[in-house]
Amino acid sequence: MDEKRIEQIYRLIRSASTDLPEDVENALRSAKEKEPPGGTSANTFEAILENVRMAREKGTPICQDTGSLIFYVDHPAGASMTAFRREIEAAAARATKDVLLRPNAVDPVTGKNSGNNVGVNAPYITFTEWEKPEIRVRLMLKGGGSENVGTQYKLPDGAIGAGRDLEGIRRAAIDAIVKAQGKGCAPGVVGIGIGGDRSTSYLLSKKLFFRPIGSSNEDPALDALEKRLHGELNRLGIGPMGFGGGTTVLDVFIGAQHRHPATFFVAVSYMCWACRRKSMTIRNGEADYD
């Protein structure tokens, strides 16, 4: 195993667990400014921001649920995925030992926690070959609470009057966020994956969390729907932690992929306010962190 690579992945994990991305922190700060000063929602944002500051300063996890480790590795032809998986596992085990991660890999049959975040298909890794000579490693730490409020729709859906069109997607998103309330640690970032099959719609919905907050969609129709939903979901009044307030979601991202004529999946993934994601690019063995 490449010790240097393990060290690079370890640093990526440490940074994701203890330091919130700047765009997310800024979004939380501006959400706080929109709330009446001294009220429960403003105080909640204040507590969140103080916690983020403290975690960064002390180098301890922002949230005790350090989540599932979800890696996306883009690599040039010829890279060994087996070696990379072993290095990721070694880095995850070391980060767990150093209490940067909580042991979060449980055998569903025996109930036994592996104790080091390594298990069957844990960490989750998606490898993609690309034409560039460098390797890009993106990591998301996704908490179980936010994962539990994610949901998938199969359109048409009579219960919410959703047909197979953009309006149907809009209705599915509103329904999903009403059901989530504050349970996934609002205000969340919403990723909506449309098309594909059951599994790829979810995969797409989660990859969207790497988009910077406030970024626009390249597709004008989806961009308009994202902006409309961002406004509408905030009108729901769920607010931080579900206490009520003007910011229920920090942003909405939609991604589309072709579907089978018979299926129309809409996967809605939820990322808690502690939207922990970091990436690094390895060129000639040296890592650049974002």
Partner: protein, 191 residues
């Protein structure tokens, strides 16, 4: 800001109202999924003294061990609704006065709060590092081997642990109110 010492009397807990902010001090026991299942199915006796007038915290902490000593490194609340099938029974059988968690709980728990005198106390989710500062000492841990660190019963001494009462003994749930209003807005949006 109301300061409360644990164990809490029934009279004290009944004086709280949804929306109150409270600083808790005393012994708290963490319990989550495996713990709640055990408390209802096997009712282990070692919890009797800890939970009489006591407080349960839905939390799976990040912990550090130095020698024999445990410390809480990050310790925010986990989502409480998963314990809804068990919570009312646990409140009744152990005489629990407070349940700390996040996201709120359902009708059965709200009714148990009213009937037996308990409040649901909301901590700010995700604030792992900040909340760990209120945990002054880990006095014991139970079922660590069997359940693993996130699900073990950690007995902790807290000082000025900040929470908001979101479900009180008078039948008020802030979560129900917010949900009702959000459903009204959603119906408007989906007309």
């Amino acid at each position: 800001m109301i300061k409360l010492d644990i164990p809490i009397s029934e009279e004290k807990i009944r004086s709280l109202k949804a929306g109150d902010t409270v600083l808790l001090s005393g012994i708290v026991v963490t319990a989550r999924d495996a713990g709640h299942k055990l408390m209802v199915e096997e009712r282990p006796e070692f919890l009797n003294d800890l939970l009489k007038g006591g407080v349960i915290y839905h939390c799976g902490p990040v912990v550090r061990k130095d020698g024999d000593r445990w410390t809480f490194v990050a310790a925010g609340p986990t989502t409480s609704i998963r314990e809804e099938p068990y919570q009312a029974k646990v409140i009744e059988s152990y005489g629990v006065r407070g349940v700390i968690g996040k996201g709120g709980m359902g009708a059965k728990t709200l009714e148990a709060c009213r009937k037996f005198g308990a409040c649901y106390l909301h901590a700010v989710g995700g604030c792992g590092t900040a909340i760990a500062q209120s945990v002054k000492e880990v006095t014991a841990v139970h079922k660590l081997e069997e359940f693993g660190t996130p699900e073990a019963f950690w007995v902790i001494r807290v000082e000025d642990f900040p929470v908001i009462v979101t479900m009180d003994t008078h039948g008020t749930s802030i979560h129900d109110k917010v949900e009702e209003e959000s459903k009204r807005v959603a119906a408007e949006l989906m007309k």
